[in-house]
Symmetry: C2
Subunit: 117 residues, 2 copies
Amino acid sequence: MALEIKPSQALKLWRQVHLDLVQDAHSDLSVRQTAILLTIYLELPPHTVRGLASRLGVTKPVITRALDSMGKLGLVTRRRDETDKRNVVIQRTVAGALAVEHLADLVTARARELGPA
Amino acid sequence: MALEIKPSQALKLWRQVHLDLVQDAHSDLSVRQTAILLTIYLELPPHTVRGLASRLGVTKPVITRALDSMGKLGLVTRRRDETDKRNVVIQRTVAGALAVEHLADLVTARARELGPA
DNA sequence: CCCGATCGTTACGGGGCCGTATCATTATCG
DNA sequence: CGATAATGATACGGCCCCGTAACGATCGGG
């Protein structure tokens, strides 16, 4: 059951949601951070720094720094893996889940307003 | 003719396209720059710095700097308005149109791959 | 004609993110 | 036990973006 969307509709949707994001003071996430956040909340745990780095095709420091920033915003938490203390397990938070849900609402709402052109 | 999309589909779409953008070396635009680019290419000309600033809810220097960056990438061009030499008219370019088209293809392709959940 | 208003740009200080290289900690294997 | 590998964090230098404030150029009304 694929989602049929015309290129012009896709652009309108993309633009409108981005306008919303720019004006929303709480949405200060970069493209990379958004990709990380959604991967954490959509793919099955556990998530590690290394796993996210290879999944996104970026270096590990990118993930570490993004987790620092998102941690300050309360969107994710880190905990050491007790079975292998080298690993760090990234955990979801209530605030993070709310942010993801907010984004989903934003996209669906703007999609609903799209015209046929 | 609204576009019906479920929240879970919206999130999957958003995530997948963002993963593509992160891995695409040519896509180095921030959220703000993307909003500006799409506004220029989707809304009717003429576009001015002041108009874009008020449309996005940001200050004028933000627009000026974004146009500088996007100009270096060849995505837009500026020209002084001869009738009122205080104004600057932002113009589209072939490279910018291609970039917008590429984004549209990306979104539509990923939407087509979505499952029903 | 002049002075205020408007437009876009630039200057400044601050902060964030990047990639590479390196580090400390921990696990693994001979 | 000791050497090696693996994991995540940190240091460094560089670049880009931000918001505020100021600036030069241009227009327009009195």
